[in-house]
């Protein structure tokens, strides 16, 4: 695995373009445009030479160059990242899976997060990332961020295709969508929520041998079939950590954008995915501090105002309750001053 990562890192940026140009037997007609071609090539090669195979999610901004095998950095856009190593996520109580039990869903989510958390960055070192799946559910029916208020990173299942396509405006063919809220000035991720399309095929926790009647690579087709939850959420959790889709050269990677029905191969990370998570969060980046409380405190009620309503027993709830109390006190005194 590590050898593959080194190979990826050593790949010459824009090699695909350069090699194609330099090869004999160029396409007919290319010669007549050679001056422009050379200019284009010069522009391409003049781009920053630290291009990567995997792609980070970036703040909004000008276009980010990329090609078949590399993702170039952008001078004007910042990569997204979690500032702290610990976060916590909760299943929606009002929009749960209708196909799978909470226990099964939780187990699949745990395995998916573990893939990223336990990625071997070399000599057994890991990123230090840690995601707690709360036992307490939340009241969010959709992905939401409450600016300046309490929040919860939420997993929401939507089984109504009209809600998915018309209300939420998602593509009917998408298996899931991850919302990553961030500070545009720093790239710090403030909140992340996953909406899963349960109206698209039959959501399952497929065995390791593959989904029914499908090889591990999936069945293909577009009219429906089994959808492995682990395959989907392992990919989405890459987005959760700030990683974008990888290039076509890494179509076997978890972070490749397309997936057929019945595929399970994205459940496990490939070298490109490991390179992505280890580069984004290199071992030693974080200290030992672990505070998973979302920005503004944990708010399982999913409301922009009101109390924190954090249920007891969950990691970080004491901090959330304290935060809620402090916010309430602050508001009380602010109103009095007003």
């Amino acid at each position: 695995m590590s050898d593959s990562r080194q190979e990826c890192s050593r790949r010459r940026p824009w090699a695909g373009v350069g090699q194609a140009h330099g090869r004999e037997g160029s396409p007919q007609g290319a010669d007549t445009h050679q001056p422009l071609f050379v200019l284009v090539l010069a522009l391409v090669l003049a781009l920053p030479s630290t291009a990567m195979a995997w792609c980070p999610t970036l703040t909004d901004g000008p276009p980010q160059p990329s090609d078949f095998s590399t993702c170039a950095p952008s001078l004007d856009r910042l990569p997204l990242f979690w500032r702290g190593r610990c976060t916590e996520i909760s299943l929606s109580a009002v929009a749960p899976s209708h196909a799978l039990s909470t226990e099964v869903v939780t187990s699949v989510l745990r395995r998916a997060f573990d893939q990223w958390q336990n990625a071997d960055c070399g000599s057994g070192a890991t990123t230090g990332l840690s995601v707690t799946i709360l036992a307490e559910t939340n009241a969010c029916s959709m992905a939401t961020h409450n600016t300046g208020r309490h929040n919860v990173h939420s997993i929401v299942f939507i089984d109504d295709s009209d809600v998915w396509t018309m209300t939420r405006a998602h593509d009917p063919r998408a298996f899931a969508v991850t919302y990553v809220w961030h500070d545009r000035n720093t790239g710090e991720i403030l909140d992340a929520d996953v909406e899963l399309n349960e109206s698209r095929g039959m959501l399952m926790d497929c065995p390791d041998t593959g989904c029914p009647d499908c090889p591990p690579e999936g069945c293909g087709g577009s009219t429906g079939g089994s959808v492995d939850l682990g395959n989907v959420v392992t990919h989405e959790f890459g987005h959760y950590f700030g990683i974008s889709h990888t290039t076509l050269a890494h179509r076997d990677a978890t972070m490749f954008a397309q997936a057929p029905f019945g595929e399970i191969t994205k459940r496990t990370l490939e070298a490109d995915d490991i390179d992505a998570i280890c580069s984004t969060y290199p071992p030693g980046r974080f200290d030992d501090t672990c505070d998973p409380t979302p920005l503004g405190g944990l708010g399982l009620d999913c409301q922009p105002g009101g109390c924190g309503c954090a249920a007891p027993g969950a990691d970080g709830n004491a901090r959330a309750e304290l935060s809620g109390l402090l916010i309430a006190l602050g508001l009380f005194f602010a109103r009095r001053r007003g």
């Binding site: 194609a20 970036l58 600016t147 593509d171 919302y179 974008s244 397309q258």
Partner: protein
């Protein structure tokens, strides 16, 4: 298509970034794009406006000046909505969402959705198959070409033998504008009876 091969490095650098990859979404053929579209147009992005929708999400509405309507209701301008964007210091990113830089000209395959945050009866449009329904156009050596849309755009590159890579199911390579629009019109006629 080999006559456009020289332009591929240029296109891949300038146009790929405008089109994000799809979020675990299936590929669509040109026929499927036509069949499922409420509107097929050629247009140019004239502005972007980021704001919160009525579901507290940041969305960015791109106003498109319509130059040619191949299917659907005719209008001078339409609004294509992207989920995500920036309002103040807060950004929202959703992988796979197309971006619409001002000045971008594209062939768009769109579906209409009600815009409940806009005046009653308003609709906004969303690209089909996420970015697959957005095929940017540009002029290359005096000939206007349409680029493949969506995830497949990333595989459009020169191959070692000098040929273009086989790519998207909708378009396998850049296509001359007039030829492609004629194909789309034929499909519109065949599929929608227009």
């Amino acid at each position: 298509m080999r006559r456009f091969a020289w332009a591929l490095p240029l296109l891949s650098v300038w146009l790929v970034p405008a089109l994000a990859l799809a979020t675990q979404v299936e590929a669509m053929s040109l026929r499927e794009l036509v069949a499922e579209a409420d509107l097929v147009i050629v247009g140019t992005v004239v502005s972007n406006d980021a704001h919160y929708d009525d579901q507290d999400r940041i969305v960015t509405d791109a106003t498109i000046r319509v130059e040619d309507t191949l299917h659907g209701a005719r209008a001078t301008t339409i609004v294509v909505r992207r989920l995500g964007g920036v309002v103040g210091d807060l950004g929202l990113q959703i992988a796979g969402e197309s971006t619409y830089p001002v000045g971008t000209r594209a062939l768009l395959f769109l579906r209409a959705i009600p815009a409940t945050d806009l005046p009653v009866g308003s609709v906004v449009y969303r690209p089909l198959g996420m970015s697959q329904g957005v095929m940017p156009m540009l002029e290359a050596n005096g000939i206007e070409v349409v680029m493949p849309g969506g995830a497949d755009l990333t595989i459009v590159t020169l191959q070692p033998n000098g040929a273009l890579a086989p790519s998207g199911p909708a378009l396998s390579s850049p296509q001359p504008r007039d030829e492609l629009l004629a194909r789309v019109r034929d499909l519109v006629s065949e599929v929608h009876g227009e």
